[in-house]
């Protein structure tokens, strides 16, 4: 899937790029506010969030849907001095900022940080309210693309995005098809109280970290065949899924804390929350991770039990799963969930094949 960014400078890196970088560095160094400068994109873990995941824009969205674009833009401009309230990705972004300040303390000269980019296809006039809101909440978001209606996918690639979060499943699907880790965010009615010192990220296994190859077997041939298959191929690593590279990026940052003896107090913790059972099909998963050189802090095998209650205990800032059934279960119990529209799970609801409407010619 999406490749890790190259660490060595490309031989054709242009001096124009260095000039821009130097100018930005000078700009930020001269600011009276001591605001931290955003990292060099090549070395950073770039997280792109849409405006509707960063902020709660449900009321404004309704105006757009009911009254059209012109009224929507006019409304936003009229209210541009009223800051927007936090959205589904807000806690995640705050947690990323916490990790960044810890990293800056330990490695003051490193560019290996989270880079949070606002990626919205909102019109730039709406952008004034978005900037005001970012100011109000004191978020370290200095980079943004307000594309005025154009698809963000090209910009995601241009920014070497490691993870894209949006409310729009079409954009998310497009991003995944281009090899960018992406998910559609869902906000629970009532949120669980989350840690403000440690970023916690929970992943489903099949069709999220791993490909959907095994899930295809479950859906098409049933659980028994699945267990046999997994035991037989225990030592054959699964193929990558869309979020494998994001886990890899998190692991790289975690190791920077371990290198400074901060394993216990590491502000990043990762979880695998899978319906597989440890006894029969879990081994293959752990062996696959090991073959990739990736660590996961906690692996939780539910053997088919619902994920909601467990996630309630873990309290992740974000939970990735490919099946809407699990997303809903998590959301109902207060977990901020992100749907990864990938693989065979999209055609099924639980075990039943979803009736596809006849394709229009």
């Amino acid at each position: 899937m999406s490749a890790m960014k190259p660490n060595d400078a490309a031989p054709t890196e242009d001096s124009g790029e260095e000039k821009d970088w130097a100018a930005a560095k000078a700009f930020f160094d001269n600011l009276k506010t001591n605001k931290p400068r955003p990292p060099k994109p090549r070395y950073a873990v770039t997280i792109a969030v849409s405006s509707r995941t960063l902020f709660n824009m449900v009321a404004e969205r309704k105006i757009y849907e009911d009254e059209g674009m012109e009224k929507y833009v006019a409304y936003q401009v009229e209210h541009e001095n009223e800051p927007l309230m936090p959205g589904a990705a807000f806690p995640f972004v705050k947690a990323l900022m916490t990790v960044n300040s810890r990293l800056r303390q330990l490695y003051p000269d490193s560019e290996e940080l989270f880079d949070i980019v606002l990626m919205t296809n909102n019109h730039a006039q709406v952008g004034v309210r978005l900037i005001n809101s970012i100011n109000h909440h004191d978020l370290t978001i200095e980079r943004f693309c307000m594309t005025g209606g154009k698809s963000p996918t090209g910009y995601l690639k241009a920014y070497m995005t490691n993870l894209y979060l949006s409310k729009d499943s079409e954009k998310v699907t497009e991003a995944i098809e281009e090899g960018i880790a992406a998910a559609t965010m869902f906000m629970p009615e009532t949120e669980n109280e989350l840690s403000d010192t440690q970023l916690r990220v929970a992943f489903d296994g099949d069709a999220v970290l791993f490909s959907d190859e095994s899930e295809i077997i479950v859906k098409q041939h049933g659980l028994d065949t699945f267990f046999e298959h997994e035991k037989e191929f225990e030592n054959k690593p699964l193929a990558q899924g869309p979020l494998k590279c994001f886990l890899e990026a998190l692991g790289k940052l975690q190791r920077k804390f371990y290198a400074k003896n901060e394993r216990i107090t590491c502000p990043i913790r990762t979880y695998l929350v899978t319906a597989r059972s440890a006894a029969s099909s879990g081994a293959r998963v752990l062996k696959t991770l090991r073959s990739w050189g990736l660590e996961i802090d906690e692996a939780l095998f539910l053997a088919g039990a619902p994920k909601g209650p467990l996630l309630q205990k873990i309290k992740p800032h974000i939970f990735f799963d490919d099946q809407m059934f699990h997303i809903e279960g998590a959301k109902d119990l207060g977990t901020i969930s992100a749907h990864v529209p990938y693989g065979i799970g999209q055609k099924y609801h639980k075990e039943k094949l979803i009736e596809q409407p006849a394709k229009k010619e």
Binding site: D14, L31, K35, A124
Partner: protein, 274 residues
């Protein structure tokens, strides 16, 4: 545009280096006060492969087509519209001057609506710009653009770009908008502000969606706040921005190849490749 035989009114043409302006009677002459006069060099327009009778098109061709499209859409909304682009084709060296009839016929051949042809030389082309009340001068030659800018004419470089868009896309450099106290204000500042306000007025004739022109703001080194200030400053000058990109030091070229602007307006003269 009709391709009838020309009934050109040739103004006095004496010595080789005198400025001559030919009106193109196939094209409606714009109302002097309403129009936004844009001058493009013939070198920028005709740089392509040449046929026997007709010059091939160059870098400025898609731009002229985009300007024409804007005019068409404006006239669709209001047939009496006077705020239109008025395109002047200007030669800036004597070599091109000698090709005057070829330039005129090539323009017609390619269906371009040029209202006036100015034949001048390196020494006096700026005089042509001023006489013709040019509000924006576009050239592929950096020196020409710099000279014009130093005489107070808003100028921009035309660079070769990838697949051009149908929509006219004007890119503004936000870092210039926000830091006017960084050094002496360029001589072309008043021209830039007046052009922005006319462009803004033109943009307002259309809605947020489906506009034939788009205003794109890019800040390269500033922070989000400086981009916000640029948006508000431009708004106060009458120019509403459609798309905004704050790079804060991130590399510009990957974004530029997606943005596909026709030209870039900044402080002084900046090329897209800079």
């Amino acid at each position: 545009m009709s391709v009838d035989s020309a009934r050109e009114t040739l103004y006095h043409r004496g010595e080789a280096d005198m400025v001559a302006t030919i009106q193109n009677t196939d094209v409606k002459q714009e109302d002097a006060h309403g129009a936004v006069v844009v001058a493009v060099t013939s070198r920028a327009l005709f740089g392509g492969d040449d046929d026997d009778d007709v010059s091939g098109v160059g870098v400025a061709f898609p731009l002229l087509q985009a300007l024409q499209r804007v005019n068409q859409r404006l006239l669709e909304k209001d047939p009496a519209e006077s705020l239109l682009f008025d395109v002047v084709l200007i030669t800036t060296d004597s070599q091109q001057q000698q090709q005057s009839s070829r330039i005129v016929s090539s323009t017609r051949h390619h269906g371009l609506e040029v209202s006036r042809f100015c034949f001048s030389s390196q020494e006096d082309f700026i005089e042509s710009l001023l006489t013709n009340n040019v509000q924006l001068f576009l050239s592929t030659d950096r020196n020409e653009a710099l000279q014009a800018s130093q005489q107070g004419v808003l100028s921009a470089l035309l660079d070769r770009q990838g697949a051009p868009s149908e929509q006219l896309r004007v890119m503004l450099c936000g870092d210039a908008v926000v830091r006017p106290d960084a050094g002496p204000a360029p001589v072309s500042r008043p021209a830039a502000e007046s052009f922005s306000s006319r462009l803004g007025e033109m943009r307002r004739r259309f809605g947020a969606l489906d506009s034939p022109l788009s205003i794109v703001l890019v800040t390269s080194s500033g922070d989000r706040e400086s981009c916000g200030v640029a948006l508000r400053t431009l708004r106060s000058r009458g120019l509403g921005v459609d798309e905004a990109y704050c790079l804060a030091g991130a590399p510009r070229s990957p974004i530029l190849s997606l943005l596909r602007p026709h030209f870039l307006l900044g402080d002084g003269v900046i090329g897209l490749e800079d």
